[in-house]
Amino acid sequence: MSTSADEPGASFLQEVREILFKDLRLELRRRYEIYSIAIFALLANLSFGFALGIANPNVLEFVPATLWTSILFVNMLGLTTVFIREMDKGSIDGLRLAPITPQAILLGKTAYTFTLLGLGSIFIVPSSMIILNYSFQSDPLLVVSVLGLGILNLAVIGAIVSALAMYSESKALIIPALSLPLVPGTLIPSILATGKLVAGVTIDGLLPEIQFNLSFLLLMIAVLWVTFEYVLND
């Protein structure tokens, strides 16, 4: 089994898949991240439930904000370490030494963050619905798509922040500081869209938020695509 410089190597999608599966396998071995997401989701929703009062007739007004606050903090607390963990363990050099494009590393890590945050949302959303006693009136497929798009944006932001913070000495400061200007770009339309989903609005009524979130996603990906090579190299 030998390798020469001119051999094609793995395809881009294969590279992305290898990194995603490797990270998921690592996660399954560790498990604490999944457990911490579940526990945090429960804790956050219980806190919101007690703070707002379950019998509060205006609770529906706060539901979108509480839901996305939980999702945001799960992302920031657990998943923005996706590159930092590799950096701390030194294994980032293994990825940098592999004959794969930086973009494949980025996409693999983003896919991992999205998968984990998506799995986390399986705890977060139902527990929020049960504790705050509400349901989505819109089409379930539309609900999943809109929430999924917002979660994907947060996953991309998580990957960006983690990549930018990995060489920093003061990661604890850098992570929230970098998140601050990026998060509102997707959080605000996602909260507005969620409010409409609870009220039972159809896709036509949600188009502005969906378009905004899609544009935000494309912009983030485009910026990362161009700059990530420089981010990854010291």
């Binding site: 089994m1 390798t3 020469s4 410089a5 051999e7 290898e18 363990k89 030494l97 004959p99 010291d234």
Partner: protein
């Protein structure tokens, strides 16, 4: 002095090439006036180096002399401040993906994931090189692991292994794709005598197909297995000589 040796080697290469005998000596590593600065301090300062294909060159020198910096630049892990470095004709800055396909690298720290088994780690890395045939991958892993006596520890989680066994597995990782150049930064550190013997034997055997640049603090090992020894001091190659065992 270093520049003189490099030019001498270059002229030898040129003469051999013009005689048509390119198989004897062709350059694998060409380093020209390479510098790397960290603020006001230089990790490497105008270093010149030429390593022929199938040569085994040892880097020696005190801590901070620039051995690791040179290896990290050649491995595409660090950008030089100035100068040029080529591996088998590929520029380490401009053709990084090409270079990465050609090299195997061992650093001070392990690049293996503690939570995965040795086999899972090696499979992951070898698949990044595009090798996907499950049977061939398994065969290659077992074969290479046997060279370092770790074939029966492949199913163990890396985090449960001793540092010596982890180092052996890390060396296996670096050779799993049969690279044409091995860059080894103090590979003998934390190896037991058996591990040292495995590595010495491997390096001697691999010369037919691979070039090796390694750093060590052990003069005994350097003299025994390498062809030439380069001594770095203050970021410069202060001395270049043939090893006693050559």
């Amino acid at each position: 002095m270093t520049l003189f040796v490099t030019r001498l080697l270059k002229s030898m290469l040129h003469r051999m090439n013009t005689n048509g005998d390119v198989s004897v000596l062709t350059p694998c590593i060409e380093v020209s006036r390479l510098s790397k600065s960290y603020g006001s301090r230089y990790g490497l300062r105008n270093a010149d180096l030429m390593v022929a294909e199938h040569e085994l060159l040892c880097l020696m020198g005190p801590n901070g002399a620039g051995k690791s910096t040179l290896i990290r630049i050649l491995a595409t892990l660090a950008r030089p401040s100035s100068g040029e470095a080529k591996i088998l004709g590929c520029d380490v800055l401009k053709q990084q993906l090409h270079v990465r396909r050609l090299i195997g690298v061992v650093l001070h720290h392990s690049l293996l994931y503690d939570e995965l088994s040795g086999k899972e780690n090696l499979s992951f890395y070898v698949r990044l090189y595009g090798h996907r045939d499950r049977d061939r991958v398994h065969e290659a892993i077992t074969e290479k692991a046997a060279l370092f006596g770790v074939e029966d520890r492949l199913e163990d989680q890396v985090g449960t292994l001793s540092s010596g066994l982890r180092k052996r597995l890390d060396i296996v990782r670096s050779i799993i794709h049969s690279p044409r150049l091995l860059l080894l930064d103090e590979p003998f550190t934390s190896l037991d005598p058996e591990g040292v013997e495995h590595l010495e034997n491997y390096l001697k055997q691999t010369k037919d197909s691979c070039t090796v640049l390694f750093s060590t603090h052990s003069l005994e090992i350097a003299e025994k297995i390498s062809d030439r020894i380069a001594t770095l001091k203050d970021g410069r190659i202060a001395e270049m000589r043939l090893a006693k065992g050559y």
